[in-house]
């Protein structure tokens, strides 16, 4: 309580020194599941878990991609990855979960590692080491910890072998891949070995924005700013990957397969769904020529494109953008089917971190039911018994 004090010529109240918790207290009374948290064990840990011949042939972490961020032009460093810390152990993870009022987390392998290792057998070996470390030392720490396994998705057969090797472990909730302008669309049939392997374990495919370092895509070679590369590029890249999944028949071949897109935005979804349906209904003829339809003998999709979004695709929420007009926010949430499609994510520890405050601090747009759906309900439905 503030205390009234008398100064030389006046009265004043005494202000108490405090350490405010910026996390909304309501979140500590609700179940919160974080679907995107970057876990980055260092090289000494990974090296311990490498198998031969890699263990005796690799001496340093082979992460060689360039990292772009606006740090050179910022007086205060720390924009980009690892802004909020580095988690390398199960204890590190639990500390962050408690800080941000998260009950259960799905770890993603350190952000720029899969994409920045050029040598695919090396990437596959490091992926196995990462996964073995999780199984050996991280999962036993707490049942609150789940993870997407690391794979070399650029080589679908290597990725499939890794999924078959560790996919039985119940604390792996899914498989981590990246979508970008540098990679072929994940919906292309060349990735079917990955989806074949995932069917055996009912795993969710996480498609996380990535692939900026270095810039090899002609379009993004012209980018000069963080805003373009991280604010803008993922939106178009996400649409490209999702469109391929739908119209190249991924979900007709694998009707149970669920995809969680991360960091590709979502407010573009209403236009995407309408436009895909329109183009399909008027110009769907060449669907008969995609690999999966050539193999199945079918000519068309089983349903219109927008219906696959609702049945098979989910979006993690970070970095959500929130209009100041609450009515607009409600409309966006409704048009994007947030009550079924949105799964909360923080993206810890990156600079665009989204603590879950926004879910409970906009009650005019997000009622109690929608709060529960976004914070945990949709993720529970998505991951089923893997959570």
């Amino acid at each position: 309580m503030n205390e009234a004090l008398q100064g030389n010529n006046f009265y004043f109240e005494k202000a108490a020194s405090v350490q405010p918790d910026p996390i909304n207290p309501k979140l500590r009374t609700m179940e919160v599941i974080d679907t995107d948290f970057h876990f980055t064990p260092g090289w000494p840990i990974i090296r311990d878990y490498l198998t031969e011949p890699f263990k005796s042939r690799i001496f340093h972490y082979p992460a060689t991609g360039l990292e772009y961020n606006p740090e050179p032009a910022n007086e205060k460093p720390g924009v980009g990855q690892d802004t909020h810390g580095i988690a390398q152990t199960g204890a590190d993870v639990l500390k962050v979960l408690d800080q941000f009022a998260v009950d259960t987390v799905i770890l993603n392998p350190g952000y720029n590692r899969p994409q920045s290792i050029f040598n695919e057998p090396v990437l596959a070996a490091i992926s196995s080491a990462h996964n073995d470390y999780l199984i050996d030392k991280v999962f036993p720490v707490s049942d609150r910890i789940r993870a997407n396994m690391m794979v070399c998705h650029r080589d679908p057969h290597m990725a499939a072998a890794e999924i078959r090797r560790v996919g039985h472990h119940k604390q792996f909730a899914g498989v981590f891949t990246e979508f970008s302008a540098l990679y072929e669309q994940l919906g292309n049939a060349k990735f079917d070995p990955i989806f074949d392997a995932m069917q055996q374990h009912g795993l969710v495919l996480t498609a996380h924005s990535g692939g900026f370092f270095p810039h090899f895509s002609p379009l993004w070679n012209g980018a000069r700013t963080w805003i373009e590369l991280f604010g803008n590029a993922p939106i178009g890249n996400c649409m490209a990957h999702l469109a391929a999944m739908i119209v190249q028949g991924l979900f007709d071949k694998y009707p149970e397969q669920k995809i969680l897109f991360q960091e590709g935005g979502m407010w573009w979804l209403p236009d995407f769904m309408l436009r895909m349906d329109d183009f399909y209904l008027g110009s769907g003829g060449d669907i008969a020529l995609v690999e999966r339809k050539l193999a199945s003998g079918e000519r068309y999709l089983h349903k219109v494109p927008s219906e696959y979004v609702l049945s098979n695709v989910r979006f993690s929420t970070q970095p959500i953008t929130i209009p100041k007009n609450q009515k607009h926010f409600s409309w966006l949430l409704e048009l994007c089917h947030a009550k079924d499609l949105f799964c909360y994510s923080s993206d810890w520890p990156h600079q665009t971190l989204d603590p879950a405050n926004w879910v409970v601090e906009n009650p005019a747009s997000i009622d109690e039911d929608l709060q529960k759906a976004i914070l945990s309900g949709n993720s529970r439905k998505l991951y089923g018994n893997r959570l």
Partner: protein, 102 residues
């Protein structure tokens, strides 16, 4: 306006912020180049504690610890868009005491 005693001049280290409960308000008080500044503590963006931010731009700005928004210490205005504003409060030093008015 109510005056609140924050503490002694030496309580806030140079280049740092500290949070204080002043009545119903939580206020972040910063010391930059020997001068004191007070802004509402909860960041207008997503609610981080500004008292944990770092000073930059030659000590004229506090950067929010969550997403780096730069607020002018003297006015509370975002450096890139003055419409995004933290409330700022007058601070004075009397003898050894820091006092803010709300």
């Amino acid at each position: 306006m109510v005056d609140y005693l924050i503490g002694a001049v030496g309580d806030i280290p140079e280049g740092m912020g500290r949070a204080f409960q002043a009545g119903r308000r939580t206020v972040a008080v910063f010391k930059s180049k020997g001068k004191f500044f007070a802004l509402s503590n909860r960041c207008a963006h997503r609610g981080a504690s500004l008292c944990d931010g770092e000073l930059s731009d030659n000590g004229t700005v506090v950067r929010c610890p969550w997403h780096n928004w730069p607020y002018d210490l003297a006015t509370g205005e975002h450096r890139l868009d003055p419409k995004e504003k933290q409330r700022s409060f007058p601070v004075r030093v009397e003898g050894d005491r820091i006092i803010i008015s709300i």
